[in-house]
């Protein structure tokens, strides 16, 4: 469904992505991990063209992301995205956050959108908070609203960019639980995260990045069982034993 071929990106002279090639199939959960500054977030943001890239090709269901004629708003509306800092719109109520793009992009009526939003809020356990503003919710609650906002567009895939990194420890699980449920329902997911427990339980494949390169791209069992590269071994030994 998502295919990346030899994607490279530079900020000025500094190369942040080096010949990255990977894919996410329908119904697959791919976790992208690696040390900070390795280009994970940049990589995931190239999928919906929030970050442009200079070389290589990315296709989503056969549609080229980098091609000049591509209708980017339309492409993006089909891919849900969840950000590290939630990025709910603070001037709108929770329900309006979820309604906005349904109405403005998909052309749903207000009633239709609200019904969808309410059922999604119920699903993430927040139906009592629809009329609040994001600032009145905890980080974990805001992130669950953000997931609902992405799902409201009936996306073909969901991208998660470090969805739990900005959360207090006690709130991480409520977000991971929603994501796990989503994965079990067969949602196609690409997840940048440091949560190796989540990766080992939920992921099908793990992509390990370091210094802008995809160093390892393996089935979960292989990655956690016997990572081939020294860099991945080093990373895992640091992240798993503390």
């Amino acid at each position: 469904m998502i295919e990346m071929k030899n994607v490279s990106k530079w900020y000025g002279k500094f190369q942040v992505l080096k010949n990255c090639t990977t894919r996410v199939d329908k119904g697959e959960v791919v976790v992208v991990c690696g040390p900070s500054g390795s280009g994970k977030s940049t990589l995931i943001k190239t999928v919906n063209a929030l970050e442009p890239f200079q070389e290589g090709e990315i296709t989503v269901e056969g549609i080229s992301v980098g091609a000049p004629g591509t209708d980017l708003p339309k492409l993006r509306s089909r891919i849900g995205m969840v950000f590290q800092n939630f990025e709910l719109f603070p001037h709108m109520k929770v329900v309006d956050n979820i309604n906005l793009a349904q109405i403005k992009v998909l052309g749903r009526s207000k009633e239709e959108a609200s019904a969808k939003s309410m059922s999604l809020l119920k699903r993430v356990g927040l139906d009592g908070h629809a009329q609040k503003h994001p600032g009145q919710l905890s980080g974990g609650q805001q992130q669950r609203v953000a997931i609902a906002r992405g799902l409201a567009m009936d996306p073909i895939a969901m991208l998660f960019d470090e969805p739990t990194s900005a959360l207090d420890p006690e709130m991480i699980n409520e977000v991971l639980d929603v994501m796990t449920e989503l994965a079990h329902e067969g949602m196609t997911m690409m997840v940048v995260t440091h949560e190796m427990g989540f990766a080992s339980r939920v992921a099908h494949r793990v992509v390990f990045m370091d210094a802008g390169e995809i160093v390892e791209d393996a089935k979960k069992e292989d990655f956690f069982g016997k990572p081939r590269s020294e860099r991945a071994q080093h990373f895992l030994s640091k992240i798993l034993h503390h």
């Binding site: 943001k45 919906n48 089909r78």
Partner: protein, 230 residues
């Protein structure tokens, strides 16, 4: 202490002063609205990555902000009739009158100042908000009008109002093109009746009350917004 002063002159001239005040308030309000609309457009142009938009907007803002307001008022007053004659080719074409030329001058002058405020307001909205809006499939226009500007304006309201209070004081400059605002009305009566001290004291008091209540309103507004934030 006030022996020899005649404060009756104020009461007798209240209707005339009120006319002047209506003019001042009207001009302030219109110039403010026009200035904010044009200022927003200028700010969006200045922030554009498209140089054909950002450079002219930047040049305009820097030019206007380097010139005294009184000169801008003169310019528009004398330039617009010349322009109209040139454009229509009719040497007898009449101008647009002092009011409209003053209104245009104030609007264009204030737009430059509002532009800088609005630009800062837009930049105060976190970059991630733009990404989130785009990620949902919103277009540039939708992201700007639905997500960015509402937040930017909320952050900017205090300073926009403060600038507008200064604009209200500046409208007293319209006397240079022969218009009579509140200050002008007070001045005329002061000279007619020889009651300069009384009238100018009164005018100062009125300006003080209006501007001080305005600032006070801004302060309470600021306090309220800070409470509701995050």
């Amino acid at each position: 202490m006030f022996t020899g002063f005649d404060f009756d002159v104020i009461q007798k001239s209240l209707p005339y002063l009120w006319q002047g005040m209506q003019f001042s308030l009207g001009l302030t309000l219109l110039a403010m609205l026009g200035g904010i609309v044009i200022g927003t457009l200028l700010a969006l142009m200045r922030l554009s990555s498209f140089k054909l938009l950002s450079y002219p907007a930047g040049a305009y803002v820097n030019l206007v902000r380097s010139i005294p307001l009184i000169l801008v008022i003169f310019w528009f007053y004398f330039l617009i009739p010349v322009l109209i004659k040139k454009l229509t080719g009719n040497p007898y074409a009449s101008g647009i009158g002092p009011f409209y030329s003053a209104l245009i001058a104030f609007t264009m002058f204030e737009a430059a100042y509002y532009c800088e405020i609005i630009r800062a307001g837009i930049q105060s909205v976190p970059r991630g908000q733009v990404s989130a809006a785009y990620a949902l499939g919103l277009t540039y226009r939708q992201a700007t009008t639905l997500v960015i500007l509402p937040q930017a304006f909320r952050n900017m309201i205090p300073i926009l109002l403060t600038t507008s209070i200064i604009l209200f004081q500046d409208t007293s400059l319209v006397y240079v093109v022969g218009l009579t605002d509140f200050m002008g009305a007070a001045g005329k009566i002061a000279r007619r009746d020889g009651r300069l001290v009384e009238m100018y004291l009164f005018a100062a008091l009125v300006y003080f009350i209006i501007c001080y209540s305005g600032s006070y309103f801004v302060k309470t507004l600021q306090a309220r917004y800070n409470v509701g934030r995050n």
